[in-house]
């Protein structure tokens, strides 16, 4: 086998699966299921953003929904005002990135770390939640958009072909856009993690003071990672709004933040593939739970989180990378040489 293929086997596998899903799902699924899968894809993007800053940057962000919600609202407000969705997507990523940068400067440059970062991010989310929730009065408008408080903003236009507001994307186009976005984010992050920046970021997670003794500015690395995570969460928020055509303050809620963390715990912190799978699995579970009346959804979600923290602290990612992926690869090349899959190359 070509050495490039060998050293990038798991990456290529993810790419192949991704393209297979991209092409295959619209053919295999009926419209309604495709719409639902699109949502899972959007959540997978959201999961990636936290997987990056928590799993690789070591930043315990308990209030990740702040970026998701801000991106969602930024998109809703700007797309209704502008009409064309091209610029709003950029805004929906830029604003959360700016918020993350400001917050990161506020925290990291004061050497605040660990649980305290968690408390501050959680608090910031609560502030957003409270403030946005209290904008029901008619005086809260941005341009043509009434923020709507608890009810949120309904009837938000979906994405359109860039610079052509009349060519609104249909459900299938929407799926493609989200899937491509997911793959871009995934491979983008993978690439970033292979570059010096990414490696130093992981080193910061491992031992912040050692990184500084080596002459790297750990604070700056965390701040940049945090902003990138914020931008990706904003993108997810934007796609979410475009998908459902609405946004409400629950996007900022603690429950939303908790959801993302559950995805990570189930998928496996410190990996990228795990949280994506976690997001899809848990979202599917949540949706399925609502269609039955026997068990309360919270009981199941709580049990899942507890069980993973106590019994499967590494999440399901090791199962995927150590068993499924080699199996998949051996299927592809029909000649099993499982050992060549580098264990270090965490997917």
């Amino acid at each position: 086998m070509h050495p490039f293929v060998r050293s990038n086997a798991s990456l290529i596998a993810v790419g192949v699966i991704g393209i297979a899903l991209l092409v295959g799902l619209p053919l295999a699924l009926e419209l309604f299921t495709l719409l639902r899968v699109t949502l899972f894809v959007i959540f997978a993007i959201l999961a990636l953003s936290l997987a990056f800053i928590w799993g690789y940057g070591g930043i315990l962000c308990f209030g990740h929904s702040a970026f998701f919600g801000l991106g969602a609202y930024a998109y809703a407000v700007s797309v209704i005002n502008v009409g064309d969705s091209t610029l709003p997507i950029v805004i929906a990523m830029a604003l959360p990135a700016l918020l993350a940068a400001a917050l990161g400067y506020f925290m990291f440059y004061a050497r605040i770390s660990d649980v305290y970062v968690g408390v501050i991010t959680l608090t910031v989310t609560l502030i957003f939640y409270n403030v946005v929730n209290s904008t029901a009065g008619p005086q809260y408008r941005i341009g043509d958009v009434h923020l709507g408080g608890f009810n949120g903003i309904p009837n938000v236009p979906s994405l359109n072909v860039p610079f052509d507001p009349n060519a609104v994307l249909g459900p299938q186009d929407m799926f493609w856009v989200c899937m491509v976005a997911l793959m871009l984010v995934y491979f983008g992050l993978r690439m970033l993690l292979r570059m010096r920046f990414g490696r130093v970021l992981i080193a910061v997670r491992e031992n912040e003071s050692r990184v500084e003794f080596l002459g790297y500015d750990a604070r700056l690395h965390k701040l940049i990672a945090f902003s990138i995570g914020g931008a990706i969460a904003g993108l997810a928020g934007c796609l979410f709004t475009a998908w459902g055509g609405f946004i409400s303050p629950t996007a900022f809620s603690v429950v939303q933040s908790a959801q993302i963390i559950i995805w990570l715990m189930v998928g496996g912190v410190g990996t990228l593939i795990g949280p994506m799978i976690g997001a899809a699995l848990i979202s599917w579970l949540t949706a399925s739970l609502g269609s039955q009346q026997t068990v309360d959804a919270n009981v199941v979600l709580g049990t899942v989180l507890l069980a993973f923290v106590l019994l499967v602290p590494k999440g399901i990612a090791p199962i995927v990378t150590d068993q499924l992926m080699p199996w998949f690869l051996s299927m592809c090349r029909s000649k099993p040489s499982v050992a060549s899959v580098s264990r270090k190359d965490k997917t």
């Binding site: 929730n133 979410f240 949706a287 609502g290």
Partner: protein, 359 residues
Amino acid sequence: MFDALNFAVGEMNAAGGLLGREVKVVSFDTQSNMQLYAQYAQEAALKHKVAVVHGGITSASREIIRPVLGKYKTLYFYETPYEGGVCDRNVFADGTTPGHNTEVLVDHAVKTWGKKGYVLAADYNYGQITSEWVKKYAKERGGDVIGTEFFPIDATNFGSTISKIQAAKPDWILTVLVGGGPISFYRQFNAAGLSGKIPIASTTFGAGNEQMVLTPEESNGIVVAYNYLQDIDSLANKEFLTRFRAKFGADYPPVTDLTMSSYIGLLLWAAGVKKAGTIDRDKVIEALESGITVDGPSGKVSIDPQTHHCIFDVHLAKFKDKKTVILNTFPQRKPIDTAMVCDLKKNPRDAKQYVISVK
């Protein structure tokens, strides 16, 4: 609500179904999770291909469901009291709006209690808009609203508000509170020894059977106005309650206006289907627009073709020992608020919620 709907469907099926077919209910628990409303609306429309969707409690959830069902051409019935203004040919709303009951309440307050009112409202669309209506109606009657406060849905501490109210010395209080937290307002109000000293009217009290949680001292004297109250003294209502209790047991909480509008909503849709002779969406809408009327436990309810809202009786009542005493009945009130902005006869392609400017 869900029980009432199932009950109505059960009765209908027992009587041979609709157009000879059995009516089947597909239900979803949205866990109050907004994106699940969207998912389930899609699922209902695309996977189950239902003939009609009933549901959505909050205005927020309705505004999520409404475009989805509009897009996939599935008829939608919304049955909760709300702020008014929805103008969409695909949607029928049979809940009360401020035009139905708020005027009745304010009229009563200004005439019996005095000119100065104080409004406590939930901080969202319904609360904001209703409080505007209160102001307007009070002014028209020579009264005035001297203070308005908005609370988040989960607010539980009203100590500071109760102090502010005492400082303002209003003649009456009108509450537009919803959710579980605000129950503590009535409790704290009574604990401060103010029950009976400043009278309270409410557009929402009792809709969640708040009186069953509170003591009689805490809830006595609160004045409400609804289309349906369990204590309505009519033959139709008594028969309905007997059947309902037989199915769900005597311990089932009192039937509220909300429960009843779910029941009525289904009856209205069934009447439309019968008249149209099909479940085809466009034909059913036409049939419903022809002015369908049903006679239910709450009296005569008919659809207003112009707004797709309903015309029905409104009963003004006062709580006494966890029950209501009906003070007055205002027959066949129209959705006058929505009618100010919405005319689906003229503009059948409208599909939005108007914010009615209250002036």
